[in-house]
């Protein structure tokens, strides 16, 4: 049996009014472009938030004593009063394939003072050699350098430096209530000043060598509050944290391993919201498009009603005519999709590799405490591209349904006789 002619007729019908076909296809293609790009931008913003929110200081995975969060009591060190074999713990965490690096930390609330000015600070004891593998905090150093292991040096935020009116090489007094009830105090030299763009960090955080903070806070060297770890990809963190629970518990029974998705659930919620928002955008854009396409096709089929009447008069079944119109819609969808992919791909590639800088339009801003740069960063999102393509073709088909049904109901005699 020879192939039925209806798909070919449908396809050729698109050529009857090429300008109209191009305009309609352009509309659909642009809808596709808008959806894919918008979702890409949204994914870019989410990725930016997660990378900066977790990468700047937090790390993607943290190990604490079970009761440490959220109070961050100075006494709740890993392993409790007895401390823990810190190196063994770091080795256990670092052994997981998803982990890039791990580093110990000690936290203490305290005061940083210079001359007449005093400010409350979160003192963070870090290992100056391991910390750069986990966080980017040292990369935020704008003046001077990070503190060195074993020295009484301190790295403070730019806003804190401004409030205290101190600069690199100046002396500051650190005061911190120690774990033995005494008031730890000592002189430190500002080795560097960092700027993160995150107001809280810049005004309140100060990093010093972990051993120095332990001495100040009367904590033994094997007492740390946190092991922070970086994963190769932030999205590997939840699984890695689960895998780590067992090896970590063999080193310290009360220790818990948490990925950023648990530590900062609001970031996770936002990422999920952004994802589901993508489908809402697909729906809205094509819901609008469907009426435009249906209108155009109604017009097109109405103009060609005499031709359809002739085809039916010489024996074509209404179903065949209907299929013709549906094929026309399908072909329109296919053309639009190709067109859409052709205009989307270059922009996607361009913005992914060289995000346009909108610094002239707006500055950095923060979201959930994470710094977002003013750039149009686009992430590839294959799922959205596929779904949007499917939705586009479906839209064209759905839009063809009404014109197809109307055409199939044509009465050849009446149509041909006049109107």
């Amino acid at each position: 049996m020879p192939m039925e002619p209806w798909p070919r007729i449908g396809w050729r019908n698109l050529g009857r009014n090429r300008r109209r076909t191009v305009i309609t296809a352009a509309g659909l293609a642009f809808g596709y472009f808008a959806i894919v790009l918008m979702n890409g931008l949204m994914a870019g913003m989410t990725a930016e938030m997660i990378e900066n929110g977790t990468g700047f200081l937090m790390g993607q995975i943290q190990v604490h004593e079970a009761d440490y969060l959220p109070q961050r009591s100075i006494y709740e060190t890993i392993g409790g009063r007895d401390g823990v074999d810190v190196e063994a713990l770091i080795r256990a965490v670092g052994a997981d394939p998803a982990i890039e690096a791990a580093a110990p930390r000690v936290y203490a609330g305290g005061l940083v003072s210079s001359g007449e000015s005093t400010t409350a600070a979160m003192l963070v004891g870090v290992d100056p050699e391991l910390e750069p593998g986990v966080s980017r905090i040292f990369r935020g150093v704008v003046r001077g350098r990070p503190p060195e292991r074993g020295t009484r040096e301190i790295l403070i935020g730019a806003e804190m430096a401004r409030q205290l009116a101190v600069d690199v090489a100046d002396e500051v007094v650190l005061v911190a209530p120690a774990a033995d009830g005494s008031l730890g105090n000592d002189l430190f030299v500002v080795s560097g000043i960092f700027r993160s763009g995150i107001a809280e960090l810049d005004a309140q955080f100060a990093m010093l060598p972990i051993g120095q903070l332990q001495a100040l806070a009367a904590l033994a060297p094997d007492r740390v509050h946190e092991i922070a770890a970086a994963t190769v990809d932030p999205w590997l963190a939840p699984d890695a944290a689960q895998r780590l629970a067992e090896p970590v518990s063999t080193v310290s029974t009360q220790a818990v391993v948490q990925p950023w998705t648990e530590l900062r659930p609001e970031m996770m919620d936002y990422a999920q919201l952004a994802k589901s928002w993508g489908f809402v955008v697909i729906f809205i854009v094509f819901a609008i498009a469907i009426f435009g396409v249906a209108n155009t096709m109604l017009l097109g089929t109405f103009e060609r009603r005499r031709e359809f009447a002739v085809i039916m008069a010489i024996g074509a079944a209404p179903g065949a005519v209907m299929r013709t119109v549906l094929y026309e819609g399908l072909a329109l969808g296919a053309i639009s999709l190709v067109f859409g992919v052709l205009i989307t791909l270059p922009v996607l590639l361009w913005w992914h590799n060289a995000p346009p800088d909108l610094g002239w339009l707006y500055g950095d801003f923060t979201m959930f405490g994470a710094l977002i740069r003013p750039v149009l960063r686009v992430e590839y999102d294959a799922a959205t591209a596929l779904w949007a393509g499917l939705a586009l073709v479906l839209t064209a088909l759905l839009a063809a349904l009404v014109p197809a049904a109307r055409t199939a109901r044509l009465l050849p005699a009446d149509t041909l006789s006049g109107d």
Binding site: V175, L183, D186, L187
Partner: protein, 260 residues
């Protein structure tokens, strides 16, 4: 009024004594408003100036420690507390001058000013706050005072005053209840409530005895209700009133020079 380290800080003005003997409670009741009674209690306990010694025992979930200290006060504006033991902290001093508090740290030989944001922070690891040092002298100004109960309680005639924050006062407590014995104007306890009406801490007075020629509660115990088992005891071992002391004594320079 006598609340907390403020009293300690101001030099244990917790002293009543001779003067209270001159005034009968009946007279006070008949002539004075609650505010005037508290003001009188305060002034009698404080003296023009004071000098004394005390030990402070702090018990927390994690550690216990004992500090001995020497303290001076002048009026309501100035006070100085210097830690004398243990050795690790000997020489550490706190100066209150008006609304400001400075700490002198002998180890680094530096003086730091306590920022406003840390006024509610613990003073020397105790359950007293820096704010107790500053605000104690201002209770009469910052709070509206009413008598919540008057009469016999535990075999003593007492007043129970209820202090509620004045409309524009920048205070941390939602309410303070304060009990004073009528016959000798000795405070017995103060209860501090937060803005939700929750009891946060209780200050208990005790060991009433003559010091520096006045009757004073030699013991104050601060109990925080959100930390079971924790408390801070301040016990005065020696106390003198109306000593020769001037404002220059309460300067930053004097603080730094170590007072010796």
């Amino acid at each position: 009024m006598t609340t907390g380290i403020g009293r300690a800080g101001c030099g244990l003005c917790l002293v009543l004594g001779a003067l209270s003997g001159l005034v009968t409670s009946g007279e006070i009741e008949a002539q004075e408003t609650p505010r005037e009674i508290i003001d009188r209690v305060d002034r009698i306990l404080r003296g023009e100036s004071s000098h004394g010694f005390a030990t402070m025992e702090v018990v927390t979930e994690h550690w216990e420690r004992s500090l001995t200290m020497e303290m001076w006060s002048l009026g309501t504006e100035y006070s100085l507390v210097r830690i004398t033991a243990p050795r690790k902290e000997a020489g550490t001093a706190t100066l209150k001058s008006g609304d400001d508090i400075w700490n002198y740290l002998p180890r680094v030989d530096r003086t730091i000013k306590i920022p406003a944001s840390l006024m509610m922070g613990s003073w020397m690891g105790s359950h007293f706050t820096n704010d107790d040092l500053v605000k104690e002298s201002r209770l009469v100004e910052d709070y509206d005072i009413e008598i919540g109960f008057e009469g016999l309680r535990e075999e003593a005639e007492i007043w129970e005053f209820v202090l509620t924050p004045a409309p524009e006062a920048a205070v941390v407590w939602g309410r303070i209840d304060f009990e004073v014995r009528k016959d000798d104007l000795m405070p017995t306890w103060a209860r501090y409530y937060d803005e939700d009406g929750e009891l946060v801490r209780t200050l208990q007075y005790g060991e009433y005895q003559e010091m520096g020629g006045r009757l004073v509660p030699a013991l104050m115990v601060m109990v925080p209700h959100d930390k079971p088992g924790e408390k801070t005891l301040v016990r005065y071992s020696d106390l003198d009133f109306d000593v020769e002391i001037d404002e220059g004594f309460f300067s930053l320079r004097a603080l730094q020079s170590g007072g010796d």
